[in-house]
Symmetry: C2
Subunit: 218 residues, 2 copies
């Protein structure tokens, strides 16, 4: 049998995830330029600013259409908005934070969420001392309320900053309510639910990579 998803992905042009990640990088630089009052930018300028080749930048953008004008380059503000539309941050999305330890607290005061249209609508914790209180203007719930709160706020993305124990079970339970995207800070492998995605942020792995690279020069 062929699922709905198969059919859709067959029709849909495959997009490189490398490209999608770079869009965010371009976008940040575009906003910096916009802030400086720059109106138009050429591919080789922007590319050099973010450290990629001009050809790659053009190819990345061409994946989604044709946005530049010959001999004038790309309109900074327009391209910023376009990328926002592509990645889907043109409308605010509700996210839930799981775990309010040191990392969770740091994430709560991370301004990048709102800047990019992500609204931390709820916090979940197992610690009864935290449940029921409000942190940085966000209410902290116990896991009993999980389904209700996620549905009520229409949560789209879950940020995992909890303990490693029971993480997979938590993910599965959250996925069952309809959440498909998980940003995982916990140094523990989780399987993505069906039709879902897990992105891992692995500090140790990055550190070990750096260690490997710098050792190589000696």
């Amino acid at each position: 049998m062929r699922t709905e998803r198969d059919k859709r992905e067959q029709k849909m042009k495959p997009v490189s995830l490398h490209t999608v990640e770079r869009l965010s990088v371009y976008r940040r630089m575009l906003e910096e330029l916009s802030h400086e009052g720059v109106e138009y930018v050429h591919s080789h300028q922007l590319a050099s600013l973010v450290g990629v080749t001009a050809a790659q930048l053009r190819r990345d953008l061409a994946t989604f259409g044709s946005f530049g004008s010959i001999a004038r380059g790309y309109n900074v503000r327009e391209m910023d908005r376009t990328i926002g539309r592509i990645v889907g941050t043109d409308v605010t999305q509700a996210v839930a934070l799981f775990g309010l330890g040191d990392l969770g607290r740091a994430l709560l005061s991370y301004r990048g969420f709102e800047e990019r249209g992500f609204n931390v609508a709820a916090i979940f914790e197992t610690d009864p001392d935290k449940v029921g209180h409000v942190f940085n203007g966000r209410r902290c719930y116990g896991l009993d309320d999980l389904e209700t709160v996620i549905r009520h706020h229409d949560i789209r993305i879950a940020i995992l900053a909890s303990r490693a124990e029971g993480l997979q079970e938590l993910v599965d339970r959250v996925a069952a309510v309809g959440v498909r995207a998980f940003l995982n800070f916990v140094p523990k492998r989780v399987n993505a639910p069906a039709d879902g995605f897990v992105e891992n942020i692995d500090i140790s792995a990055k550190l070990e990579k750096l260690s490997f690279l710098s050792r190589r020069l000696d």
Copy 2:
């Protein structure tokens, strides 16, 4: 024409950075297995646990030699040690943390550093209220002492969690004292110094990637 760099890289076997990143993932799972008392593991078992193909796992390991035994698989503890030796975490390395805001504080209490042989030997801050004090057992210095402290502790890796302003200048100054590896949490592009490496941890980019992916299903 053949450049100096070409010659050097020809001698040195090129190693895929994808492979290096996966080594860390394998390693974490190996430690979990070791903790559970597992002595030997087959490529397809370990591969399925971490979500890669068995062929890829074997290829990754084969980059660095031949560690498994036919029909018995890989010795869990030995492979763990081997990976440690490859990435260079068999000896403790001193790292410095730049910036003691919310994120910096969270990183200070992140146990992954010590677990992987990284010792946060010093903190640097511009806020005079913090300079001179001790946080989580680590002394906080002002930028005046930068060169002295880095040399004294033989700092190898810099973790960037400061403000975006003046980041490039900071990196260049730190690189001038011999630090070649930078782990950048600041949402701002930095150019790697000559013979140096910058690894970015970009939370917004990961979020936008998730947003893109989950939107795609609708």
